[in-house]
């Protein structure tokens, strides 16, 4: 699929940047014909992935970097969210719904990412960081106004 646009964000691992990342990605994704409900789902997925990087990857240490790569093809947003934190010891267990290392958390971050996005993939190595890869398609073949032939 032909690449139409791409962007990269790099920001400190502080909670305030969770909102920054999701709004930036949603604004970027809105170049495609996503519905408002789709964009809301993308925002939740980005929020969860960046939140995980800050909380679990870096253990709330605020001076590390989280990276977000986004690319657009004609009908798909592709996302890659990376940290260089502690990594996940047991990926299978981390993906179980309601598994959390913190009693005040629901352990549903990955459930939201998997529910709201497509082609979800998790790569992680102990001590080397975690990468979340996911995409979402607009699911329509509508022709934009002015593009009709």
């Amino acid at each position: 699929m032909q690449l139409m646009n791409q962007m990269r964000l790099e920001f400190l691992s502080i909670p305030a940047n969770v909102a920054f990342a999701r709004v930036a990605v949603a604004a970027f994704a809105s170049q495609l014909d996503f519905t408002l409900a789709d964009l809301e789902e993308i925002k939740v997925a980005v929020s969860e992935a960046v939140g995980n990087a800050i909380i679990h990857g870096y253990g709330h240490v605020p001076d590390r970097l989280v990276r977000v790569y986004a690319a657009l093809t004609q009908d798909t947003l592709e996302l890659r969210i990376e940290d260089e934190g502690r990594g996940i010891e047991d990926i299978e267990k981390a993906l179980e719904p309601a598994f959390s290392t913190d009693a005040e958390r629901l352990g549903l971050g990955f459930v939201f990412m998997q529910s709201f996005m497509e082609n979800f993939r998790l790569e992680s190595k102990r001590g080397r960081g975690t990468t979340v890869i996911m995409s979402k398609s607009t699911g329509n073949n509508m022709v934009r106004a002015g593009e009709a032939t």
Partner: protein, 112 residues
């Protein structure tokens, strides 16, 4: 995020305005715990009408307060979530343990 808080009898009404995510979770948790303790609130009514976004960090704060309030025999009621917020609440399973009402008066009526 702005937070409007009101105590009526033994019920605490909380009306957050904005987005409930990791950026505000600690502040929200602290404020709610302090207010519940100070006012000796038995029940909690959370009006989500002005909340435009919630993720699992925001839901974690709600779940934590639910655990606290229900341990003391109280109820947590959700009022008027916007559709995108409701979708996340629903998927999380929180709507199975916290009842949802269209407005605060109906919620208050259920508490009795």
């Amino acid at each position: 995020m702005l937070l409007d808080i009101e105590m009526k009898k033994d019920t605490l009404f909380v009306r957050p305005n904005g987005e409930l995510d990791l950026g505000v979770a600690d502040q929200l948790r602290r404020t709610l715990d302090e207010t519940i303790e100070k006012g000796q609130a038995k029940n909690l009514v959370i009006n989500l009408a002005k909340v435009s976004f919630v993720d699992s960090s925001g839901l974690g704060v709600l779940l934590g307060r639910y655990n606290r309030v229900s341990k003391n025999g109280g109820q947590v009621l959700i009022v008027s979530p916007q559709p995108q917020v409701r979708k996340v609440l629903d998927l999380s399973g929180l709507l199975r343990i916290m009842n949802e009402y269209p407005n605060e008066n109906e919620a208050l009526g259920k508490i009795g």
